[in-house]
Symmetry: C2
Subunit: 456 residues, 2 copies
């Protein structure tokens, strides 16, 4: 396997953050302190919408990176990003975005070691492929791919070019999720048996808005929409599938050693009728609003059940069109007990009172992950309850060393494959669909990433 | 359709309990007061194990029934039943049980109007068929049937003989379940979209015991076991299926008008590995216990997803072999909001604070079912939190009038069909299985039972 030409960049080796005492440092000094820009990881941002800007803001808190290039076809977003950089006293990056393919010019820059792709879903794989082919250490937002062929594209391009890809799944770094992962690794739950997870998030106000502000109440999407409603909503019009599986399945896949001693074997999926988006349009825009005629193909609740090679099952839910409070619905169940995020409760045989739940908080505190113990206070303000700091940190630290990231291209492919496989199962009345083995058999030998440490 | 010969029994018509002020009455006077035994419903009990005895004890609190016959092949259980009757000053019933088929002699008695069948699962359909053919109003414990053919047997026998069958699903009468049913009927949740339910109950100490007392800690079952472990555990040895679906799916089926304007269309099922029962045997009996060699076919968690004719989905869980607190895992979700029993929470758009759960208690109190408002205080001591009173009351009152019961033979068939269909799906890697239409098309015209009243 050809490895990327590491002479093209200067990676910072042997980061020694552990000894720095991050809790005491002012925020802007996070990362290896260095006055020498040559030693810093040079990052190109492709896409500075809401999510890309979030990454940008978190990057600006680090001393070990430079933002050398930004690409966005939306001038307003670009100006906001440049303004943000200037206010943080970061050097002005090179700017791209004169057309849809201008990101390829960014990828040609010697002054870019790594890229973060935060664009609409249909651009993720295309851009990630191009980035890996250009030798860039590639971070891609969730979900990574839209079709099975795109899943293979990611894997094949990585293996051909030797460039690494990390799927930037922030929920893998949520404090409770990492504590439970710690419990899994310490065998508190016993042998793993069953999992539940999903994306249960009322996105009606995201998929539909007033076309002026991202969360402005309205019934517009597509050309008349703004922000995510410009592109994300089309997936609800055209696809009946779990179009956004990774926030739920990412954390579970790591706990269950998927692609590393285990793998997804097959799934079945079922969708309900579609009501939520239409009802919302009528409620907000009236019965005569043109969008009241749109037939949304996406069922309001999509239920997918995955079987794994080691005999566990995983229920994955997609629930984004109906009024409901947010929950990723996690459940992690083994032969000794289980965690359920709904109700915030844990039961462990022999330790909990028989047949009675414990409040999860005590357990989660006891098993707080070393990374959170170390950086928790610092991370708190970074976005999404802190997890955005950790996923970005893992990306930057992995990229600096040019090593395989914690959440790699095989993870990106296997998790993202749920979308096309669920779509096919739903189309065929729940017919089971086999997962490709994206590791080409290597899953039986691949070792789990070493999660239980306090670096990244 | 031939109707049963109602001249063979004297039914009590026009019960007027509503005006009696039950809360003030001493317990033993429940039911229409009558000094005339001829006016009372004459009940035969087939099976007086733990469950049958529970029914017996609740029947003894009523004034509108007589227990005219009891059948059980277990002398110890029979003696306990007779002793219980005597202490309650009930006349001595005729006694059957000299062999497995002696229940058929009970069914020939003129002095039996209605029977309650509470025997091991493999006897349910056989006995229910014979009872209906003998013209008895038939109550059968859950689950009602084991195979698809048995589901049809129940339906065909009912239609041939004209006798009614009620499936005695007590969870349909749970206070929270009935309050939520009230909310469903009043359209609080909007149009129904998605449901979850299941039987999540650590039965290791039921399936395995010491052979001396029903819940005595031990590793025995079958011939060396006692009570349920004598027969129930065999289903875990031989069947990989949701072998006990009705406690979960019964309440949901009523809320979703199954067989009454809606129906189950198809399902897929997935089972995990089987670990819990084996681990328990090793823990309790040691590695060298003979039962440590038993290979249990039943996966520890069985996940079934049902599609309905109106486009809802229902996830049904079977989880009885692992350490965990009890939960039937209900979720009832519509276009306006949802109830989740885990976490005890409800969200209703426009009434709950945006994106925030309400504690379910206030809602459940507000929508407390008329039946519970009327009989709740009385029912509290009847077993399983009161619901046993209500299911028995519905059976007795329906039998007295010889009318179709709230939970009828089509419900029994459709709910019980989940067992064989899930077994076949699991055997075939999750292949979808179609439900038979046990109503032979009548579901499109059948009206829902009138649940929202304060009689039964």
């Amino acid at each position: 396997m050809k490895l990327p030409d590491s002479s093209r960049r200067t990676f910072i080796q042997n980061t020694t953050l552990a000894g720095v005492g991050i809790g005491l440092m002012p925020k802007t000094t996070f990362g290896l302190t260095s006055s020498n820009n040559i030693d810093k990881l040079k990052i190109g941002l492709i896409g500075v919408g809401l999510r890309g800007t979030n990454h940008l803001e978190n990057l600006l808190l680090r001393k070990d990176i430079l933002i050398t290039a930004i690409c966005d076809i939306d001038n307003a977003r670009m100006e906001l990003a440049l303004d943000t950089l200037q206010k943080a006293d970061f050097p002005k990056p090179q700017v791209f975005g004169k057309n849809d393919l201008d990101y390829r010019n960014l990828l040609q820059l010697k002054e870019v070691d790594a890229v973060i792709i935060a664009t609409p879903w249909l651009w993720h794989t295309r851009m990630a492929k191009d980035a890996m082919l250009a030798g860039k250490y590639t971070g891609v937002e969730v979900s990574a791919a839209n079709t099975l062929e795109e899943c293979w594209d990611l894997v094949n391009t990585h293996e051909q070019a030797g460039s690494h890809l990390m799927i930037l799944e922030n929920v893998n770094y949520r404090r409770d999720v990492m504590a439970v992962l710690n419990m899994v690794r310490q065998n508190v739950f016993g042998e793993m048996v069953h999992f539940r997870c999903g994306y249960q998030h009322d996105l009606r106000g995201v998929k539909l808005n007033d076309g002026k502000t991202p969360y402005g109440r309205g019934a517009e999407f597509g050309e008349k929409g703004i922000s995510e409603s410009k592109w994300r909503t089309h997936h609800s019009v055209y696809q009946n599938a779990d179009v956004y599986p990774t926030h739920g399945v990412g954390p579970i896949a790591v706990m269950d050693n998927i692609n590393r001693g285990n793998r997804f074997l097959s799934l079945t999926s079922h969708a309900t009728k579609s009501r939520g988006l239409h009802n919302y349009i009528v409620e907000v825009g009236g019965e005569n609003h043109p969008n009241a005629k749109v037939k949304f193909k996406l069922g309001d609740i999509v239920t997918t059940t995955i079987e794994t090679a080691l005999g566990e099952t995983i229920i994955v839910t997609h629930d984004t069109n109906l009024p409901r409070p947010y929950s990723l619905g996690f459940r992690v169940q083994g032969t000794n007990g289980l965690w359920e995020v709904d109700g915030n409760r844990i039961y462990i045989e022999g330790q909990s009172k028989p047949h009675q739940w414990d409040d999860a908080d005590d357990w989660l505190k006891k098993y707080d992950h070393p990374l959170w113990q170390k950086y928790g206070a610092y991370a708190a303000d970074s976005g999404h309850g802190g997890m955005d700091f950790f996923v970005l940190n893992a990306f930057v630290e992995s990229a600096k060393q040019n090593i395989s990231p914690p959440l790699d291209v095989y993870d990106a492919a296997a998790w993202s494959a749920i979308t096309p496989l669920s779509e096919k199962s739903i189309e065929n009345n729940g017919m089971p669909q086999d997962f490709p083995d994206f590791t080409r058999g290597l899953w039986i030998n691949r070792k789990p990433y070493e999660w239980m440490k306090n670096t990244f």
